[in-house]
């Protein structure tokens, strides 16, 4: 059973007689222990989709199911969902971390005692226990974000929605948040992660969905998507001068030689032929060109824009 199943979501906003289609036909699926990176440029429809999943924006069409329950019809479905929303404080600054955890724990259906116990546990885990009685407004931005994540987990939800969780954090705090996400996923937490930090998405996600102008333009396993966009190009670094007969044979195979580098574009079978030509010269490095998520993202988003 998928933890999240969103199918064919549509949303159009109307303002002053103008209709803007924010989301059109978006479907997402997240299994237990899986991190789905949900990426897209500003205004692409990420946050609207996230809020439709959380029951905060009502879709015009389509369905949302969290553990096969509909958050728009059955409010207790929200008991299985935690969310850190972008552009929000998410927690009360006038309360301490422990008070926030107790308050939101009760609001999510726990007893005050259970919420406090779980809160203490999460504060220890997120290394915030020394700040548990300090006002939240006095914490650093990174600590506030860790607290927001802790609060979203206080009721042990099956699905966690993290909308830009590393936005505005310094390098160290962002690393901590990334580590938390990694650990949560390893424990079986299903996570939907939206972020503009594509390196973060690449490091953390098993699967990626890219949205542009309200439509999904790519959806696959992160590795598969990266492989698909990685070229069939190999670069070989040789620690010796290449003689003329080798150069001619390499040219015959379609390889180019520049400054001790041999660049070959072709299938792995051809690569072995290139290596055979180079034998017995000392080879320093053989590297396949690998796309990163930033390249994939930009390529997809630009392709769609051109289309």
């Amino acid at each position: 059973m998928a933890v999240l199943r969103a199918e064919n979501l549509h949303k159009t906003f109307r303002s002053r007689g103008r209709a803007v289609q924010a989301v059109s036909g978006v479907s997402l699926r997240v299994e237990m222990g899986e991190v789905l990176a949900f990426l897209g440029p500003n205004g692409a429809g990420k946050t609207t989709t996230i809020k439709m999943v959380a029951g905060l924006v009502r879709p015009d069409r389509g369905l949302v199911r969290i553990e096969e329950r509909d958050p728009h019809r059955d409010p207790w479905t929200l008991r299985r969902l935690g969310a850190v929303l972008e552009g929000n404080r998410n927690v009360y600054w006038r309360l301490t971390p422990l008070e926030n955890l107790e308050y939101f724990g009760v609001l999510r259906g726990l007893t005050a005692g259970a919420a406090r116990r779980r809160g203490e546990l999460l504060l220890r885990r997120f290394d915030l226990d020394h700040k548990k009685n300090v006002l939240t407004q006095q914490l650093s931005r990174g600590m506030q974000q860790k607290l927001a994540i802790a609060v979203s987990l206080v009721h042990e939800p099956a699905l966690l929605l993290l909308d830009e969780p590393t936005l505005g954090l310094d390098v160290e705090a962002a690393e901590t948040v990334k580590q938390i996400v990694r650990e949560l996923a390893a424990e079986g937490q299903a996570i939907v992660l939206t972020t503009h930090h594509l390196d973060v998405a690449q490091q953390l996600s098993e699967r990626v969905a890219i949205i542009r102008e309200g439509r999904i333009v790519a959806k696959d396993r992160t590795k598969t998507l990266l492989a698909r966009f990685s070229g069939e190009q190999y670069e070989i670094e040789v620690a010796a001068e290449l003689d003329e007969p080798r150069r001619r044979r390499l040219a015959g195979l379609g390889a180019e030689v520049t400054d001790g580098h041999v660049v070959y574009v072709g299938d792995p079978e051809g690569l072995w032929q290139v290596l055979e030509v180079l034998r017995p010269l000392p080879i320093l490095r053989v590297e396949k060109d690998r796309a990163d998520l930033t390249e994939v993202f930009l390529k997809l988003v630009r392709e769609e824009a051109d289309a």
């Binding site: 906003f13 009502r58 006038r94 005050a112």
Partner: protein, 257 residues
């Protein structure tokens, strides 16, 4: 639901403690007003003077006036603040639903306000040696009037949720409140009297005037009318608020300010 009321009560008290100057300010104002009333300064009670000249009547009238004002505006101010500060959507993620959470918050705030007023009152009674001869029965029409006030509070909360900025409207609404609490509809004939039954807060306020200012006996029929009026307004208020929640979610206006 009780545990939500309890946690809201705790949150309310913590907020008071965190801003001691705000709390001391409130204490000073309430103390001065009650003390003024004790010294015979009737004008200080504002609209409460309509409830008769006796000290107990003034005190009850003043409590109705301040609690009604609080009941009507508290939810809207709270929603506007939460939308601005970015905690509103987290409250909406509660499986209890926003109507129940905010109802619990209202009950908790009312208890805190009521507690504030009663403590100061009893301290002053003790210090001045004054005596209040409360018609204990006055509590019931007061409660009925407050139910209606909370109903109107939820309707205004619906506007605050949808439009986000209704400060000017809320300030203006104080005069509507003054009209509802002060006008002696129960002494009018024809449409005026009917309005006194149908408008929010008015049957409870009218009954209080009868009990305290005119020394009328407790009328069960009048109380039933005031109670039904209060409950209907509360239910309609909750319905309107729930409808506004739905509309706000449909138009994606929940988080925006």
């Amino acid at each position: 639901m009780l545990r939500v009321i309890a946690i809201e009560f705790k949150r309310g008290l913590l907020n008071l403690r965190r801003y001691p100057l705000e709390m001391v300010g409130q204490l000073v104002v309430i103390t001065l007003i009650f003390y003024g009333l004790f010294l015979g300064a009737r004008y200080i009670a504002g609209p409460a003077a309509q409830f008769g000249g006796r000290l107990d009547a003034l005190v009850v009238g003043y409590v109705l006036w301040t609690l009604s004002l609080f009941a009507i505006g508290d939810l809207s101010w709270g929603l506007m603040n939460e939308a601005r500060e970015g905690t509103l959507e987290q409250v909406f993620l509660s499986p209890y639903g926003p109507a129940r959470v905010y109802l619990a918050r209202n009950v908790a705030s009312l208890l805190i306000m009521l507690g504030f007023n009663l403590v100061i009152l009893f301290v002053l009674l003790f210090l001045t040696g004054a005596h209040l001869h409360f018609a204990g029965a006055a509590v019931w029409p007061l409660a009925a009037a407050l139910l209606g006030a909370y109903g109107v509070g939820f309707m205004l909360g619906a506007l605050a949720l949808y439009f986000k900025r209704i400060q000017a409207f809320l300030n203006l609404f104080q005069f509507v409140m003054m009209f509802l609490v002060m006008t002696p509809f129960e002494r009018l004939e024809g449409p005026g009297r009917l309005a006194g039954i149908l408008l929010p807060i008015t049957p409870g306020a009218g009954m209080l005037r009868g009990l305290l200012a005119r020394g009328e006996p407790f009328d069960m029929h009048l109380f039933a009318l005031a109670l039904v009026n209060g409950l209907v307004y509360l239910l309609v208020g909750l319905w309107v608020f729930t409808y506004a929640v739905r509309l706000t979610k449909e138009r994606g206006l929940l988080g925006g300010y």
